[in-house]
């Protein structure tokens, strides 16, 4: 598909530097965050959001994903999949995609093997590995070539069977990671990445309870052009720690699946609170999903009552009101009632949800300085 055509006559192209991904031994682009300056950085970040052009991180993720697609590594082109809004109160979005379902398990299965074993002499190719993100030591973010993933970074891996454009897995790169379920530092990097991508379309998901990947923590992310239905649902504030930690907790009302939203302009405070809530839920063997949106400033928590019939849970995007249908017939007859009923069947019971609300408010309060 790529062609280089020589021009005749006096015009010639200057010699280009060999691009990074062609250099010998170099397998990886390493994105390093700039150093966080504590103090006024929250304010600074708020003012530069929204008006800005795509950030370096955003551009690199899109470039690398599109390149992955262009080189033919995708199972299918998700942009050929039709989308529609189910008109109604909630405007659920449904996608017609007959190729997604069957590959799902296979793709998830990859994460049973440790992923941090990339070595320069590795014969296996890792074209799905788009980027490694790690803490940096400079004032501004930078991209450097790296032969191996750094030990305490996040790997961005393209999903060849995407649910939406730009679907990636975000997994810890550490080879020596203990099989602890929740890694707060890792979650910090994820939140920082969401903030640094700084694109409203970029949304990060987390699922605990699918039971396919019991002991390895990983996130997923996609680019959704439109707001997800849950983001348009009404909220009621149940905790306001604005004066102290900057954390607020809201309950999403008038939505078939009970959910809470944690918001803060202080990413670190948000990381601490959500980490503790997540760990607690995990210890209690409670299934839940997370949505990180709004440039890393909102985290939406969907506690789930596992289906007794199937033992499975809704994936995070379904919790958000985005559904993929494998057959045309199902796609055509999808209705708000059907989707609402499905979501409601996974929703927490009232008393359990009250307990969760109390727990979350207590945790948010504990972290208030």
């Amino acid at each position: 598909m790529v062609s280089a055509t020589k021009l005749e006559g006096e015009y010639s192209f200057h010699g280009k530097n060999p691009p990074l991904d062609q250099s010998e031994g170099v397998k990886l682009h390493l994105y390093r965050f700039g150093i966080e300056h504590h103090g006024n950085d929250d304010l600074k970040r708020i003012t530069c959001i929204d008006q800005a052009s795509p950030t370096l991180l955003d551009t690199i993720i899109l470039s690398q994903w599109e390149n992955f697609a262009r080189e033919g590594h995708l199972g299918y082109d998700v942009t050929t999949c039709k989308l529609k809004v189910i008109e109604g109160e909630r405007n659920f979005v449904v996608q017609m995609n007959d190729k997604w379902d069957s590959f799902l398990l296979k793709e998830y299965g990859k994460f049973r093997q440790p992923l941090g074993c990339l070595k320069p002499d590795c014969t296996e190719s890792h074209e799905e590995l788009l980027l490694c993100i790690a803490q940096g030591e400079k004032d501004v973010p930078e991209v450097v070539p790296s032969a191996t993933p750094v030990n305490d970074g996040v790997l961005l891996i393209a999903n060849a069977y995407p649910v939406e454009y730009g679907h990636i897995f975000l997994v810890p790169s550490a080879t020596n990671q203990l099989t602890s379920f929740w890694d707060r530092r890792m979650f910090g990097l994820i939140m920082r990445s969401a903030s640094e991508v700084n694109n409203a379309a970029f949304r990060v998901f987390f699922d605990d309870g699918t039971s396919i990947v019991p002991d390895r923590m990983f996130f997923e992310a996609c680019y959704f052009a439109n707001p997800l239905p849950v983001e348009s649902a009404s909220t009621v504030a149940i905790y306001d720690g604005k004066a102290r930690s900057g954390i607020r907790v809201y309950e999403i009302v008038d939505y078939p699946l009970k959910a809470l939203v944690f918001t803060s302009n202080n990413v670190n405070a948000l990381v601490n609170v959500v980490s503790e809530v997540s760990s607690t839920l995990h210890e209690n063997k409670t299934a839940y999903s997370l949505l990180i949106s709004n440039h890393g400033r909102n985290v939406c928590l969907f506690p789930q009552a596992k289906s007794l019939v199937t033992g499975c849970c809704l994936p995070a995007w379904e919790c958000c009101g985005y559904f993929v249908y494998g057959t045309k017939a199902d796609f055509d007859k999808a209705s708000e009632t059907e989707i609402s009923d499905k979501m409601a069947s996974f929703s927490f019971q009232d008393d359990a949800f009250e307990d969760l609300k109390n727990l979350c408010c207590a945790i948010a309060d504990d972290h208030a300085m």
């Binding site: 790529v2 062609s3 062609q22 599109e66 942009t79 809004v85 991209v143």
Partner: protein
């Protein structure tokens, strides 16, 4: 109205002729003379915006021979009862350099008014987007059938005659319906004439088609003969009129993207540009108004590889992406080595709606943060894909047209 000054002096004649021959081969005049229909070419760059070419068909429609009108402004056809609003519309189109069709009451050389469908179109220099000439095609409009006229008003006899002539002539859709008018003795028919002049006529679809096809044959003649002198002209108007506006939310999302790119609409004829990024405008020197509505070929020029253009077309046809190296031109005429990525872009329905053309001037050193230029360009493609995949509740990306 201007006084008829007869043929212009030799020096002026030479200048007028040069307006065409400086841009086209000498054969262009013969070629134009062969074309049927009544049309003019005017040169907006010359003082007074004079007529520099008049077709042979003009004489039979208006009574003016070419040498009667060369060097004069085209307003000489207008007269007392010509609708000022119609004239203002034409002026506006000329000022904005866009194509325009209007039914207008003109006057023949003998002073007799007649309705014509006037089709005005700018002829652009395909490289720099400059307007070289204006083309004005006149198609006579026959009197409308009187079916809707008030029953008390008796249709004039001549109108009825013409109606017959019109029906006869309209079927083959090519013809000299106008000539019949010329033959009629105007003296003593003042009343009928004024009656008809006073009742604005509406051009039929057939008239409009005829005007357009005449204009198209002129464009193709100009293009055929311009190639000999290395010049390419295009008839695509270079403004956003007629190009459906993108929704404001899509415009906003596209506006964030830094790279130099344009979007072309795959469903409009000749795939016109419907969006151009700021970086593209600064790369090429064009203003947005100049290129919206144009086909991307305005960037091409001498040395642009036809094989590569052909390759792009092939990929567009089979809905494939491609990256090519191409020589392209800025508005100021300077060439630049262009690393061009073209990719089909699908909307929320999964159908190809646009093509994105990402341009990169390879003669300038860029910092791509360790990525290859090819991969860096793809960041824009990804961002455009996300933006175009957006789905408003109505499911439409385009604003409802007025």
């Amino acid at each position: 109205m201007e006084s008829s000054g007869g043929a212009p002096p030799a020096e002026e004649r030479r200048l007028l002729a040069a307006s065409l021959t400086a841009r086209y081969s000498d054969w262009v005049l013969e070629e134009l003379d062969e074309l049927p229909g009544s049309f003019l070419l005017t040169d907006p760059a010359m003082s007074g915006h004079p007529i520099v070419y008049a077709s042979r068909g003009l004489a039979s429609l208006t009574g003016y021979r070419p040498r009667d009108v060369l060097g004069r402004n085209a307003r000489l056809f207008q007269g007392a009862a010509t609708d000022r609003a119609a004239v203002a519309g034409v002026r506006d189109a000329v000022r904005c350099q866009r194509a325009h069709q209007v039914a207008i009451l003109n006057y023949r050389r003998d002073g007799a008014p007649h309705w014509v469908l006037l089709h005005v179109a700018p002829v652009f220099h395909a490289h720099d987007g400059r307007v070289l000439h204006f083309l004005a095609v006149q198609v006579p409009i026959a009197a409308a059938p009187r079916r809707r006229a008030a029953p008390c008003r008796r249709p004039p006899v001549f109108a009825a005659c013409r109606e017959e002539a019109r029906v006869e002539e309209e079927l083959p859709c090519a013809s000299h319906a106008g000539e019949a008018f010329v033959d009629i003795d105007k003296r003593g028919l003042e009343t009928t004439r004024w009656l008809e002049a006073g009742e604005p006529r509406v051009a039929s679809g057939c008239d409009k088609e005829k005007a357009l096809s005449t204009a198209n044959s002129i464009f193709s003649a100009l293009n055929r003969y311009s190639k000999l002198t290395g010049l390419v002209v295009c008839g695509k108007r270079c403004d956003s009129a007629g190009i459906p506006a993108l929704s404001s939310s899509l415009n906003l999302s596209l506006g964030r993207i830094k790279q130099s790119f344009v979007l072309t609409d795959r469903h409009l004829p000749d795939m016109p540009v419907v969006y151009a990024s700021d970086a593209f405008l600064s790369l090429t020197g064009y203003s947005r108004e100049e290129i919206l509505g144009c086909n991307c070929r305005f960037l091409n020029g001498p040395g642009t590889s036809l094989e590569v253009l052909e390759e792009i077309n092939r990929n567009i046809c089979c809905e494939q992406a491609c990256t090519v190296h191409l020589l392209n031109y800025r508005k100021d005429g300077l060439a630049f080595p262009d690393l061009l990525h073209v990719s089909p872009i699908r909307n929320a329905s999964g159908k190809v709606a646009f093509h994105v053309w990402v341009h990169l001037d390879e003669s300038i050193k860029h910092d791509f943060n360790g990525l290859s230029p090819e991969v860096w360009q793809l960041g824009a493609v990804g961002a455009v894909r996300v933006a175009v995949r957006s789905l408003s509740a109505s499911g439409s990306l385009l604003r409802p047209s007025q």
